[in-house]
Symmetry: C2
Subunit: 337 residues, 2 copies
Amino acid sequence: MDAAVLTAARPRGDVETLARLAKGDMAAVDALILDRMQSQVPVIPLLAEHIVSAGGKRLRPLLTIAAARAVGATEVENALKLAASVEFIHTATLLHDDVVDGSERRRGKVAAHLIWGSATSVLVGDFLFARAFELMVETGAIRALGILAQASGVIAQGEVLQLTRAHDLNLDQETYLRIISAKTAELFAAAAEAGAVGVGADERTTAALRSYGLNLGLAFQLADDALDYGGSSEALGKNAGDDFREGKVTLPLLLAVARTRGREDAFWDRTINGNQRTEDDFRRARELIIGTGAVSATLDAAGDYADAAKAALKVLPRGDWRSALESLADFAVSRAS
Amino acid sequence: MDAAVLTAARPRGDVETLARLAKGDMAAVDALILDRMQSQVPVIPLLAEHIVSAGGKRLRPLLTIAAARAVGATEVENALKLAASVEFIHTATLLHDDVVDGSERRRGKVAAHLIWGSATSVLVGDFLFARAFELMVETGAIRALGILAQASGVIAQGEVLQLTRAHDLNLDQETYLRIISAKTAELFAAAAEAGAVGVGADERTTAALRSYGLNLGLAFQLADDALDYGGSSEALGKNAGDDFREGKVTLPLLLAVARTRGREDAFWDRTINGNQRTEDDFRRARELIIGTGAVSATLDAAGDYADAAKAALKVLPRGDWRSALESLADFAVSRAS
């Protein structure tokens, strides 16, 4: 059964339009990243290159650039540095996350800690985090720096919260949203906000871009959670079913557990609380999660956040950048169907 | 054999004079630390409190306060916040260090990662690091922020360098000094420099305080290294012999290896490269290290750095604060004899 049949038609959207517009800026950001991850200690650039070059879509620094450009900035030197800082912070959290979760793969490659060891991964994460702040200091944009410092604190708190509650079937939806807001959406929000602040945008525009980023981040994360049960591994960029295999409680699972209360409690208790999960269990979980409409409900929620993200952009001047950001919000959800 | 008999008499010095002068300021710093380590996620303040309250002498924030006061500042609000930031950065590196080294004890207590797990320790370290930068942003002292951001990067690089070379008998003295400069002395230097910059001291004074901190940090670290072979566990605050037990290469060991070349190669090769170390081996290593004068040579080097630290203070106005800082430099070495 495909998740696509369960969701109402939505605009498809894409990320390429924005990537094309930002191509020159992003090349400059990549050059900055490469330059600032160097160190006299040979293993540092080696490990950093392993994860940075795998790259993916660089959505977060793209948001910083897009925010600066969308408010009409032509002098984007600060935004480039802030964008590189955002990617450094993101990479540092990925390195630490993979150590914390014992993940085996990242961005389609073997996770760094399996090659260089957990110790080095932790320390190179620290190094990249420090480099992020050094770059921000160069901009002199102390307010942008404050936004990203605060976001870093929120992310760490979200990760600790997830760590302590990730396998808890009694997790309520509100706490779950709090976790993904902190762990994922906060950096999207801060990336966009910092881009606007870094080029001197006014309060109203800055707040709008923060709201766009936050809602976009929630849409992306919820669509990811849905894809893990309703999508193909290709669409997901990692193996479908990984959340279940790791016993990770996400919104589709929480909804399905609630919707099968009294009927499947033993199954959920054994597989999630009891940590006994076979591939047959995954197929059964997937059936229950799709069958109860939990995947489509999750995608509906993602769609609502994508709509809120687009609505936030209305205070921005119309133009190519704003349209591309709108399309990115649609893409967050449509890639999952 | 006691290391004391091997070293020339030096002024004894103490830390209490400075601690007494800074008592009021440090109480304010402690209150700030307690306030800013709070979080809605319950395990975070719990873990932070475990390591922060064990506290020790709080040498690094003490340096920030002393630097600000020694240059004559009376308005020290910024210095208080910078001092708390310095302690947060230090605490974050301790948490990560203990995970990286698998250390069992810290500040006389069970290491946090053995109570709450490595994952939580890594993430709470990240949280404290982020909080440090949030506090610095509040001061608006972007130059001080830059100094501490850079120091954080240097520390991480020093730790990676140590990780890759710590058990290498071919480590040369220069690389060893590079490691302890980065890993230990840099934060002492940055703490003092940031304190001066945060209250608007001139370039010459700021550079002098940085130099004081750097040399003081080297003196402390070398005296620590000497104490591990020549001192008592009480003077050290940890078990004497821990460096040897962990196969960690420090200056006394490097000197002894060089001074017993052709005679004890097999012993060093088995114990350090071969990772076979009994308590008898430690006693033998200790005899060789003291017998060849390697402990006293290390203490002499520490003494030279302490003297350089004191000399750097000459550009500062005479007074209680300067005297107390001089006494602290002497204490760095005299506590080891």
